[in-house]
Amino acid sequence: MTTLESFLSELEAVATTAALRELRSKYLGKKGVLTEQLKTLPSLDPHHRAVFGASINETKKYIEERLKEHEKQLTSKEIKAKLSKEKIDITLPGYYKKPGGRHPVTIILAEITDIFVSMGFSIEEGPEVESDYYNFEALNIPQNHPARDMQDTFYIDSNVGSNRSGDDAFVLRTHTSPVQIRVMKNSSPPLRFIAPGKVYRCDSDISHSPMFHQIEGLVVDKDISFANLKGLLEGFLRKVFGPDVPVRLRPSFFPFTEPSAEVDMGCYFCKGSGCRVCKGTGWIEIMGAGMVDPRVFNNVGYDTNQYSGFAFGMGIERIASLKYGIDDIRLYYEGDLRFLRQF
């Protein structure tokens, strides 16, 4: 058997990289077979020496190539074996913090804000504890007027604000409308803004909460008409509730708008055929609106001959309840994770 033949048969039996290393040193090591053969060369005559030397080198080169090739195969086989031993259960959960829930009021507020900001409305704010003047008087809701019965009011104890100069009563604002007065008093027309925030009413049951959220909107400019109010609110409601939702305005009363309107949209649940939510009417009251009453413009010093405007206001919980089918307003304020984590 030639050297090469015996190498090849031994190579076939090699199964590990360690055995391969041994085989390499047996043939190519310092005392390896081929090294020993090369050592015999000097004793040969020049003619044989050349032929034999070339043959040994060729064999050596060939063996080296085969060893390399075999090593590659073995290594990859061994890595595979190692990996398969360490195989993990990929169905175990990933390590991360599950995102928390968003509050539905925040979601709806953000959604509505985005729509109005896209139309160039700014966002304004006002205090939650308001004076009687801003919450009522300036909005044409005088003392001892039945319109005051429209909102059950929380009053602030008169001991609060001991350095107070006037005898104006203070209340927890019953609506976001006082922001209208604050903004108009501080800036000149034209203007357009929304005012989101918390409001308070002295009332509590399954559909009334002593605290809830509203968004107020106001547009004042030259040539603003009731038709514009209709156009804007229709566009807005269709953006929130879908492009086909029917919208209607019907006459109503707010002391700070004239004409005033209640805005209804087609019942979200029965699509107008009549159900419990819409009390069989097919319509759901969704917001109040109207043209700014000239008495309000007079209170803030706007020229009613030059400017007109409209205002609108809506309850956020009401919109959220309709969108998500929430039938108990108290769920918004209990902080129950079983509810909140759904959002």
Partner: protein, 684 residues
Amino acid sequence: MLISYNWLKDYIDFDNSAGEIAEILTMSGLEVESFNRQDNGDVIMELNVTPNRADCLSVIGVARDVAAILKKTLKLPETGDFGNATDTGFKVEIIDAALCHRYCGIVISGVKVTPSPEWMRDRLEHSGIRPINNIVDITNYVLLEFGQPLHAFDLSRLKGNKIIVKAADRPQMIATLDGIERTVAAGTLLICDADGPVALAGVMGGKDSAVTETTTDILLESAWFSPASIRVTSKLTGLRSESSFRFERTTDIDGVKNAALRAASLMAAHSGGLISEVIDNYPNRYAARPIAMSCENVQKLLGVKIPEGQIVDILSRLGFTVERLPQNLLITPPSFRRDIELEADLIEEIARIYGYNNIPAVMPQLSLAINNVSDKHKKLAELRHSLRYAGFTETINYSFTSKDDLTLLNIPEGDQRRAAVTVKNPLQKDYNILRTFLLPSLLKNLKHNIAVGAKEVNIYEIGTVFFDTGDEFPKERLKLAVLSYSGKGKRLYNEPASQFYSMKGLLETISSVNYELRQSNEAFLDDGQSADICIGGGNEKVGFLGQVSAEIAARLDMIVDRPEIAVLEMFIEHEETKPMFKTSIITKYPPIERDIAIVVDDSCQSCDIINLIKDKRLDPGRLVEFVEIFDLYKGKNIPDGKKSLAYHIVYRSKERTLLESEVDALHAEIVNHVIGKTGGALRA
């Protein structure tokens, strides 16, 4: 207000179904809130009459609107003419004419008090009024029909043959119809006889002068009282009646006598009484106020052109007098529409009869405006986003709380959080102040969630807090509060850090401000695991973070043993603005890294060692680029009361490649410095 479909038909001839009438009413401003078919084929509708539409608190008032829309004639009931009634000598004297503009009294003699006819009792009952006897029922029937409240006195019980209308000059006693003795405040408008009060004007009659089964002669009262005066009486006495409800919304002063005559004629017909005298004392006459209106302004405000002829037609049908002037129209509202004062009020009348549905919807044409969302709102959105992905769920709680919550958390007297704003009329006792901090609300949320079985509660709230500073308006500030609770229980992966460090890490994640933490002495936090969050070099405290103390946790009365609750609360105004900044140069020279491990006293704080390492006096060339703690060890091989801290230091120059030898020299100097200052030793 309840209104009967069949009753409406008394005044208008129409074929429209009850459903159609309901639609007409709703779409013209009288919203039908409920619709109930009766056994007798009638339909009772509940109307939501807005405070401005006092004229619609009657069947005829509602019929007038329906007739105007259907373009029908309104048929008013016969009232009778009693011109030749005799002088009975009864007198009506109005002393406070500012509060009582008109008082009409009709003397009816020889009545027989019996039950009223069935049709009348039916109509009253369907309108929510309990039938009593023919006399009282007729006053109520006419109240429903015309909206004019009436009152019948037993004439024999009125002393001195006279009525005096005057405001009480001192607190006075009166026994009202409901059998209650009441003391009314000075200024309350009273109906008196020669001896004293016999009725609370506009609110309720007196018990002593009430009509009974033995009454034979009556005085029928029909008057116009000042709305504000009646509202005050009603509020002060807590008495609300069908009468006061209408008076405080204002009644039709020109209809006062007509309604009285209508009632008198019904009484003559149903009780056998004789109309003896009609007294009409009207000292404060109603002056109609004409309003100028231009059709151009109607078009401008509504955004639709309505022809002048149609405008005139609508207003006329609603009872307005229209005069055409060269430039515009002069409109005089009827006496029952005192709510109409301005052109805009008239335009609403035109619009609601024209139909809101007939006005087009047109997007407003406005100039472009750059109204960027403010930094505050952007930051709030970012905060909510970060907190959400850190695993926290947003809650919103009522702004109300109680002093008990402050006491529960050991908030000392004199603390800013004690300067709470008190609500005068709270819904319940534990909601009587406004929140000065949010933590009590989150603890309630925690309690609720544990009670319903939650094992982990990670929540936050962003909300307004209120402080009474003595100024006119309370100080309102925005706060963030975070709560993290993790119940005992097995978990697949363990949290690598303690609650305190998780909460501190959260602060570092969500915040764009460099806060300094100082030892906190908040009485509700664990002494050893709490910190105040400060800004301005540690001078201004803006919040706290830490572990709720075991004492407080025990007080929360939760079903778990010693719950570990980490909390954070802080004002967030200073988070709102992000300063502009410029990037720093990324250096191309390589770093050289060294570690230091040192055993120090337990009381030694990590940041002190970092400050020593960064001491500029040792390192004038600022070669220490970065220092980071990578190990904290206590236990085996470390003496009691000591701990081992290990730091990783990166040395780098921005100008050149550092030599190993110079870093070794500097590092040795730093190590000596740290050991010298802390009294520590290198860890073996």
